[in-house]
Symmetry: C2
Subunit: 765 residues, 2 copies
């Protein structure tokens, strides 16, 4: 855990140059706009520790799988988000001396990520080995309006010298993924051009043949006496070298504009033209105007999704950072895109889609964006249905059963650990549940018959084949699974997975039953060759006779068969030197232990809370929570929500804190790999579903707000079925405003209140 980020309500601020934290800061200070994202690398050459990273949405490379021992059914490759061109680069030489912070004495270093306005600024003084001193202030954006455009304003002042300088803006596609399995570079040059006013490189990915053009235009303002211009090229690289003279004490400003244009959105043969058009437009607009329109776009984002917290700057900064990153990562405009676990802030985990999207991210986008945004997340999976069916076939399933991949970029499975790839199948349940979640939230009933039910049927078919009849138990069982708690592998009857399976079967049967006679339904059932009598009977039989582990003595659901044979100890009794156990213990020791990586049985209780009375929830919480080590960033949010429900404010706050500032404080010592983007949505969930107790039940909005003792109060906004609501919670009152022209009724502490158009309800707490 680190604490070098200054606490501030709207900005992330680093003061003082700390090279050992540079890779962490590069992650935290990342910029993105849903189309591409850029780590907070320096513009000028830097020979110190750095992870250069520019990631273009949807562009991936299928890196050949690396595995020690091959298992039948493993995928041939792992799709990786690609480290694309370095578009920010501007090198400086002063009288032949390369300007490189790694070799300088640096002072007054300050980095600020202004979340309100979406820009990154860095300023410092530096003394080069020769004694030359310069002052720099560099600001940049990834435009939220012109989403292909990045723009930089780089101001430099020679403090104690005049003389010749070289300024070299460049575009470099000769980059490598840090996680390349075979130390291979993934880009091939297709085309490049350098000219005084416009340069670009077009490169394509091996195998997948995505083409990306990165174009640049620049100009130098201020006290710059130009003496010449030349151009250099090498493989996948172009640069323009400006030579000229600097005058002591007088500033120059380099403006660099770059366009990242991908064949995802433009014909390959038009890339150069589009890139030229886009970058020229940006150049002509100029940095200040680009910034101004960008700031406005961010204001609109915040208008919809901001959360305020009174009396706790650290928490305020944390929640805004999470919201900021989520809005940078996914804007919902393109249903081919999704939310990688690191967003655009790093490469780890391949940048592909996990069940995180449905289980943790969807609620945020449901409540803070237009309905199309969440809908596009669902359509992403709908479009992958065919591949999910093929994936299941590969594993021996038939009859149109679908197993969605654990990790994917294009619908194909990428993961290659049998205990996850083949067994962590609860992901199928999360994808099914997301359909319900969306329809329940936005009341988009058409979605079920247009898209949802086809996915639900395929997943139900999977569950129906994945269980088997136990002669001994005279019940159905589900053998050989890995639940969300990945510290248990290949277990039998994981309660959560079985619960998700049953819920899917039930919801699918209901979806079919309630649309009886509907033509769309008839045509769907025909399309998927649904044998209604046989299949629905089988599903109902499973619903009637499925085994779900329950322990009468302890009154808890059993995470899996045999769980009670373990030595049941609590995390509080673990030595500090044993934590985190995933770094300190061998895998068999972890597996044999009772310790739980992330919410598992409790994840099911969270999803289906209405099925259980409060005592049941409490017994399970009190049994499982003390054994949970939360070594997944996706864990504490669920515990926070349940803790709120149980009135355990202190526990809820403790859990909330573990995710809210996870990256800002580098809690897990791994932020250098990138931010934990998907778990940021979990933090939002902990806030809105936990502290504010928001639920949608049978089409009705419910709130049960509580305020942690550490806060004065908080407010947040949600969109719900075309309404915009603002919820303002203080220690002694709750104020809900309907900021839209349609009335709505909301339940506050279980009591219904009518909110007229632009009306509000205020009740004492």
């Amino acid at each position: 855990m680190k604490d070098y980020i200054k606490h501030n309500e709207w900005s992330i601020i680093e003061e003082g140059f700390e090279p050992e934290y540079n890779c962490i800061s590069e992650s935290i200070f990342s910029l993105g706009n849903g189309m591409f994202g850029q780590r907070a690398n320096f513009e000028e050459h830097y020979s110190g520790e750095t992870l250069q990273g520019n990631y273009v949405a949807g562009v991936y490379y299928p890196d050949k799988t690396r595995v020690g021992w091959w298992k039948n059914g493993y995928p041939e490759y792992f799709a990786k988000v690609l480290n694309a061109s370095n578009w920010i680069g501007i090198n400086f030489e002063f009288e032949g001396e390369m300007f490189d912070l790694h070799t300088c004495k640096v002072s007054n270093f300050r980095r600020e990520l202004n979340m309100k306005e979406g820009w990154l600024e860095r300023s410092f003084k530096a003394e080069l080995p020769s004694g030359k001193q310069v002052k720099v202030a560099a600001k940049r954006i990834c435009s939220m309006v012109k989403t292909r455009i990045g723009a930089i304003r780089y101001e430099l002042t020679p403090l104690n010298f005049s003389g010749e300088a070289k300024i070299t803006p460049y575009v470099d596609f000769d980059v490598m993924n840090k996680d390349s399995n075979y130390d291979e570079k993934f880009w091939i040059e297709q085309e490049k051009k350098t000219a005084s006013d416009f340069s670009y490189v077009i490169a394509s990915t091996k195998k997948t043949d995505f083409w990306v053009a990165t174009a640049m235009k620049y100009n130098i303002d201020g006290a710059w006496e130009s003496t010449g211009q030349s151009f250099n090229e090498r493989d996948k690289y172009i640069e323009a070298v400006e030579t000229g003279n600097l005058t002591k004490g007088q500033s120059i400003t380099v403006f660099k504009y770059a366009a990242n244009i991908s064949s995802m959105n433009h014909g390959k043969n038009t890339l150069a033209t589009v890139a030229e058009k886009e970058v020229t437009e940006a150049f002509n607009t100029g940095f200040d105007k680009l910034l101004a329109e960008h700031v406005k776009a961010w204001a609109r984002k915040w208008e919809q999704s901001d959360i305020t917290i009174d009396g706790d700057v650290s928490s305020q900064q944390g929640i805004r950072f999470n919201i900021f990153q989520l809005n940078q990562t996914y804007t919902g405009e393109d249903e081919r895109l999704n939310i990688g676990p690191k967003g655009f802030t790093g490469e780890k985990y391949g940048g592909s889609t996990y069940w995180d999207t449905e289980a943790y991210c969807l609620p945020f986008y449901l409540a803070t964006s237009d309905k199309e945004v969440a809908r596009n997340l669902l359509l992403y999976r709908f479009k992958h249905l065919k591949k999910a069916i093929e994936n299941a076939e590969k594993l021996g399933f038939t009859n149109g059963a679908a197993l969605y991949p654990m990790v994917t970029m294009n619908g194909e499975e990428c993961h290659n650990e049998w205990e996850i790839t083949f067994e962590e199948i609860h992901r199928n349940g999360a994808i099914a549940y997301a359909i319900f979640d969306y329809i329940n939230y936005h009341d988009d009933q058409d979605y079920l018959l247009d898209y949802g039910l086809e996915v639900l049927i395929a997943i139900s078919r999977f569950w129906a084949q994945r269980v088997n009849w136990s002669d001994r138990k005279q019940q159905y069982v589900m053998l050989g699974v890995t639940g969300p708690n990945e510290y248990e592998n290949n277990v039998n009857n994981n309660w959560y997975t079985s619960k998700m399976a049953l819920w899917t079967l039930k919801y699918t049967l209901e979806g079919i039953a309630k649309n009886k006679g509907n033509k769309k339904l008839a045509s769907l059932l025909k399309k998927v060759e649904f044998d209604e009598a046989v299949e629905t009977a089988k599903w109902q039989d499973i619903l009637d006779k499925m085994y779900l582990g329950y322990d009468e003595e302890k009154g808890v659901f059993l995470q899996q068969d045999g769980f009670l044979d373990k030595e049941l100890i609590q995390t509080k009794d673990l030595a500090k030197t044993d934590r985190p156990i995933n770094q300190k213990w061998s895998w068999d020791r972890i597996l044999r232990s009772c310790f739980i990586k992330q919410a598992d049985t409790l994840q099911g209780i969270y999803l289906f809370e209405d099925e259980f009375d409060l005592e049941t929830i409490e017994r399970n919480f009190d049994f499982y929570e003390p054994m949970t080590v939360h070594e997944s960033s996706l864990s504490p949010c669920v515990h926070a929500i349940l803790a709120c429900k149980l009135g355990r404010k202190e526990k809820a706050y403790e859990m909330y804190l573990r995710t809210a500032r996870l990256d800002l404080d580098d809690y897990n010592n791994d932020t250098e790999d990138g931010c934990h983007t998907t778990s940021m949505a979990g933090t939002w969930m902990a806030f809105v579903k936990g502290f504010a107790g928001m639920r949608v039940k049978e089409g009705q909005l419910h709130f049960n707000p509580t305020v942690p003792d550490q806060w004065g109060g908080y407010s947040f906004k949600i969109k719900f079925r075309e309404r915009n609501l603002k919820i303002n919670v203080k220690k002694d009152s709750v104020n809900i405003s309907n900021e839209s022209a349609e009335p709505i009724s909301v339940y506050l502490f279980g009591k219904e209140h009518q909110l007229k158009a632009n009306g509000k309800v205020i009740i004492p707490n």
Copy 2:
């Protein structure tokens, strides 16, 4: 399954050139002498499919581990047996045309591995692309007497041409392991020399720094008119080029002698000298005399270990092939060596030591060799005890607990699959049991206190920590293990593993108890800091309160918890297209199924048969056997032994056949990777413990012979406590001769018989 090997009692014969089987034949026709081994590669250049292989005992390379997802506790490297120099190579050119069977029309091709005499011969006619025809007869040995020496006699006759030829004997260390993880070559040249009468290359292994010298001497006899000699060298390679003239119809003979000298046995700075001395001695001895003394050595081997079978040439060939390969692989002279799963016939599985040695190979060497041979196999593990303790520490065990590695070369773990590396811990039991097996067989009581007990205590300490108390069961349980049936991973309470653990604790306690007061014991207990009161009490408590799964209804031991929840189907109901399931099914499907890779519960019943009545054995056999797919070559032998015990002659014979000719008929389609050397010992076990029913109980030899209907009878020899016995079984009689000067009593069908010195017993069957 293939059937291209001619059936012959003493020889393996291939007639006709079948390039597509060449890699298989290279494995089957391999030669070895315990010190090095050579695949049946061609001497002359061959551009077709081939796996060049010369393996020098004990020389290995720690290849950096390749793994998809790292787990805490994985080893950094996998020790691999090394493909060493090509010492057999002799290239031929006729008037500039390279002689290469891959480009020739080949006729009269015949390959013979004479097992009685231990030589490989190959003869054929070949027509080169130019139309030139030659006849070749090449014979070679890896001397069983001079165990560093390989010798070749290569006779060649130009059938339809006279003219210039080049003959190029060479030594090539520029070889690569087929299974190199990172396509790396493992050898570095240290020294080389070429001269008219003696050439060599010395190369060393990276990291491990083994040095190996390969020296050659050669001469050309017959109708060879020499015109010159020259030498070429390149990295790790030397060759001598002899130019001369051939005369049509007249033969020449090239004799090539090679010495493989390793720093395992000689100082690095003496390698060149030793190599020169050894190869010169061989050269001076000459091929015929080397062959003659080699044949004599093989006669002695057969005298001790031959098995004859009447009336079934195919079975006769099969069993001799297995005995031949075992004798080629391990001679027991060096306790640093062990038996790799492929012997010297291939590279797969790293050529390291597995539990195969103790569980399957030991009985063969116990009964067919001097007692030192088996003792050396035990000392190998004794010497690795310290590393086994370190290995356990790495996984979190304390107090001198030892976990022997799953795969090793020098005592360190090499394997990197968590479900095997950390969980297939029954291997510890096999290593403990081998100590009992040896002492029980040879009555070497000193071994226990000198070496055995130290290992047993360390293994018992491991078991005592590996179990845990289940509050729920009020018994000890063993969670998270993988039994011998690797088609179940991470299961709880694998009956076999728990049984082995209990047996170890019991045997160790007995070993301590019966030596009370012995000084050696006192000093050992002090050395290992044994807390006698506490540790023995704990072990006894586990013995008293350990959970072992048993199903009352079916009357069978439970392979593991939850086994009866599976769909219990039989292998006979599996479609042919589903077999072998490890190639046809995804891993999760295999894991969920009831199918058993290899004897697991039945392995325990085989080891501890005296604990169970015949009905219990029968119930378990009838329950588990029909679910066993025998996809490990180590499985059928155990089933064969139990089938014999149960009087199931047909089943026993079926099981026996599955291993006896496994490689000869390429039953598993993988002989090209090398022979299944360790499972060959299983075949021997199936024969001697199965058909002949041999047991050693409380120091007494027992036989319960039966003759499969397909055979007229059989005979075999064993060494038992300084006696040599010959057992001759016919359908109507059993004849046991004591071919030694000491009397002995044996039990035949449960009845004791006294055999005087050189006496015999004959009883009607």
